[in-house]
């Protein structure tokens, strides 16, 4: 009975505050107590323990992105900010490669995980240095949208240039040898939608070629990011539908670095360039801008290199 008055009081708050209060009371204390040893516990909504292999997919997220599918390529739809961010993703990949003196190979094999409607996958497939792009997403509707849009560009229909698969990463066949792996694996705006990021990241690494880069982007879990992504973007400006973001699943760059440091197969040499981050901020009217230091409180890119 003791929890009832508290619950009632929380429920009487306005929605956005209620979310915050709820997240604060449930999620954060646990994280605050054990910041270095966050366990990325798997509370998969898929309780069917008999189905191997376990999927990283969060089914609520799948249905949310299903609803988003139709507006994916609408220039004024809710994916507008992702479209605007896309050029920076390429800039960041170049930054990662340049930290090692550029790419050694002329043509690169890309794997885009959580490709959605194909914003990044299409753009990677158009690059002159793309050998092939494989793009996967567990939501069938977004893959349908992506395939439909692919048909509007003859270049993307060239054999092997761009292949969409409606599967989670666990179902992607492993490369026959490490050398057959991908040069670039991208997980843009994905890990904040995954319930067990650690297990998810570990399932990706076998697909990465030695010397290749795992790059991604996400949002740091701070008051600022709650204010901008949950409160402003979802509630006030309604730039994206409510429920697009799950603030408690946002990840700090130092948590990622910590995770990478515990992996033997990643290039985390002290003082080396094997771990890269870049903070970006959306400035209305100007677009996305790189702001150094902003990775600690807002949207940021991360890249980690697999040891050769």
């Amino acid at each position: 009975m003791a929890s009832n008055p508290l619950a009632r009081r929380i429920l009487s708050l306005p929605t956005q505050l209620r979310c915050l209060a709820l997240e604060r009371s449930l999620a954060t204390p646990a994280l605050r107590q054990l910041p270095a040893s966050r366990t990325y516990a798997t509370y998969n909504t898929n309780f069917n323990t008999t189905s191997p292999p376990q999927s990283s997919v969060n089914h609520e997220e799948v249905s949310h992105f299903n609803a988003l599918a139709s507006s994916w390529w609408d220039p004024h739809g809710s994916s507008r900010l992702l479209h605007l961010m896309n050029p920076l993703r390429h800039d960041f990949i170049r930054k990662c490669a340049n930290s090692q003196g550029g790419f050694q190979q002329e043509k690169l094999k890309f794997l885009d995980i959580g490709c959605g409607g194909g914003i990044f996958a299409e753009s990677a497939a158009r690059l002159p240095n793309a050998a092939s792009v494989t793009a996967i997403d567990p939501t069938p509707e977004v893959i349908a949208v992506a395939r439909k849009h692919q048909r509007t560009d003859p270049l993307l229909l060239e054999p092997n240039r761009l292949t969409y698969l409606n599967i989670p990463i666990e179902q992607l066949p492993l490369p026959s040898s490490p050398e057959q792996g991908f040069d670039i694996i991208s997980i843009f705006e994905v890990i904040e939608h995954i319930q067990s990021p650690s297990a998810f990241l570990e399932s990706i690494l076998p697909h990465l070629k030695p010397g290749g880069w795992l790059v991604g982007s996400t949002i740091a879990r701070t008051n600022v990011s709650w204010f901008t992504t949950k409160f402003m973007a979802e509630e006030v400006l309604k730039m994206v539908p409510r429920g697009t973001h799950e603030w408690s699943q946002y990840i700090q760059p130092q948590e990622l670095r910590e995770w990478a440091r515990r992996r033997q197969d990643l290039d985390m040499t002290v003082g080396g360039n094997g771990f890269q981050t870049m903070g970006v901020v959306y400035v209305p009217g100007l677009g996305w801008k790189e702001v150094s230091g902003s990775e600690d409180w807002g949207n940021y890119f991360f890249g980690v290199r697999k040891l050769e």
Partner: protein, 511 residues
């Protein structure tokens, strides 16, 4: 008879729908060739866009076709070194920089171009003057602050350029044919696969066919250009560099707003009584008459280019004059009071030479504002007197899905500031930059994600320039009353404020 009602129903639809229905019904396009960029119009804007793309490592391998209904590959520059085409443009320093970066400027016949270093502009009614000369460009001012406050404005960039630049050139006079053949030379030099389809009339532009089934290529949102011989070209990006009546703009349903000034621009190549050697400082002159501005722009040696904006009836009359009478009228238009000019032009019985001979000595230069070193015009090159109607037009946007407009297809401006061609070159430069950024980031260069920046960069800048030129035109069309007092006061004040003029010149030259 059966088709009558359906035809009537079709005609009752709004034009945009009608076109869609009609072209969908007509769409019999089979296996179109696929190009990355198709540019319709081989004028300076279109050619400079293509040559800019060819000069950039990221865009040089795009598959490009350039289509023009006229013969653009045969050079039309007069072979006589003393004869000049009447179609000249005043290239601003930033246009010249763009052409140098493209590698096209190396192919310009420099002996046929003429830089000028000062501008004398005066009011035909009050005699107030404003002198543009490069020494005014020094010094910071409140304008710098304003320039910095407006993001993406070219004002600050141009201010900086002028302060840093050691080149004291206001602009460079160049025949359009000289520029066109330099650009073509440059394109041939790059030796990359590139198709110039000149003397080729575009038969139609329509959207591609609906896809056959759920898995086949869908070109239904691609513009398909149909050429003679049933040749169909699908364009990832269709660029309209096809002039004021742009078929590309009409295809994209982009409205273009503006008005006719009811004026004509009379052009001619003139001879002067002074011969200038290469490297001498030259000046451009412009006098605002109530019927429109008259400008004398220097060409090499003793030549000059005339642009006389005037009413349509007067333009017709001027074109009918004998070369001697025409020469006299041009002298009169720069030297006499406006009332005398009107009399000479409207009274059919006058002998213009006699009229000028007795009216000029009775006119004080201090009253007309005539510069003391103003040359006398001694003749007109045969066959160079021509005229064209003056308009102001601005497309409501420069981009659509797989469509971009540049140059006159996007805007038509009054020639009083000599900006038309420069705006077109600036469009080409900005669009080439957007395309190269698009290619480097894997964008579809026909999508709004790639083209929005071009529209954002050029539309507002051109709109500001069109607005200023239009207001100047209106301001100087008044022949009496408070507007004249006001504007002469304004011009005098502007003349005393060096930095303001510097900024005005900078902005004018930067675009």
């Amino acid at each position: 008879m059966a088709s009558r009602p359906s035809m009537a129903k079709l005609l009752a639809l709004p034009p945009s729908l009608r076109r869609t229905v009609f072209s969908a019904a007509q769409s019999t396009v089979k296996n179109p060739e696929i190009y990355d960029l198709v540019c319709i119009g081989g004028g300076p804007a279109g050619l400079s866009l293509v040559s800019a793309l060819r000069s950039n490592p990221s865009t040089k391998n795009l598959k490009i076709a350039l289509i023009d209904g006229q013969d653009i590959t045969t050079t039309r520059t007069p072979s006589d070194p003393n004869a000049f085409s009447n179609r000249c443009s005043s290239l601003t320093p930033s246009s010249v920089r763009f052409l140098k970066e493209n590698g096209a400027w190396d192919h310009i016949n420099a002996s046929r171009t003429q830089p000028y270093h000062g501008m004398d502009v005066w009011d035909g009614v009050s005699g107030s003057k404003i002198q543009f000369d490069p020494s005014d460009r020094v010094g910071g001012s409140i304008l710098d602050t304003i320039a910095q406050a407006i993001p993406r404005s070219r004002l600050s960039e141009s201010r900086k350029k002028y302060e840093l630049g050691r080149d004291a050139t206001v602009a460079t006079m160049c025949e359009n044919s000289n520029l066109t053949s330099a650009l073509l030379h440059r394109l041939r030099e790059t030796a990359l696969e590139f198709e110039i389809l000149d003397r080729t009339r575009v038969e139609s532009i329509q959207l591609g066919p609906e896809p056959k089934d759920e898995s086949s290529l869908d070109l239904s949102q691609w513009p398909i250009v149909t050429l003679p011989g049933e040749r169909n070209i699908a364009a990832r990006l269709l660029v309209g560099a096809d002039g004021a009546n742009s078929p590309v703009r009409q295809f994209a349903n982009i409205p273009s707003h503006g008005w006719d000034y009811g004026q004509h621009g009379v052009v001619a190549t003139l001879q002067l009584d002074q011969t200038f050697s290469e490297g001498e400082m030259r000046t451009a002159y412009q006098r605002f008459l109530p019927t429109g501005p008259i400008a004398l722009l220097p060409l090499p040696g003793n030549k000059a280019s005339l642009v006389w904006s005037t009413t349509a009836p007067l333009a017709t009359k001027l074109k009918q004059l004998s070369p001697a009478e025409f020469t006299t009228m041009v002298n009169a238009a720069f030297r006499l009071m406006t009332v005398d000019i009107n009399y000479m032009l409207t009274d059919a019985s006058t002998n213009v030479a006699e009229e000028l001979a007795w009216r000029e000595p009775n006119t004080k230069a201090s009253e007309t504002g005539l510069p003391s070193y103003f040359p006398r015009i001694t003749g007109v090159q045969e066959g160079t007197v021509a005229s064209f109607p003056l308009r102001m037009r601005h497309a409501s946007t420069y981009t659509g899905h797989r469509v971009a407009l540049i140059g006159d297809a996007a805007h038509t401006v009054h020639p009083l500031a000599g900006q038309g061609l420069n705006l077109g070159l600036a469009d080409a430069e900005a669009l080439a930059k957007c395309i190269s950024r698009g290619v480097e980031h894997g964008m579809d260069i026909g999508s709004c994600w790639c083209l929005d920046d071009y529209n954002a960069e050029r539309w507002a800048a051109n709109n500001a320039m069109l607005g200023v030129v239009d207001k100047l035109q209106k301001l100087y069309s008044a022949s009496s009353g408070p507007i004249v007092w006001g504007r002469s006061l304004g011009l005098d004040i502007v003349n005393r404020l060096g930095p303001l003029k510097g900024a005005l010149m900078g902005a004018a030259s930067a675009s």
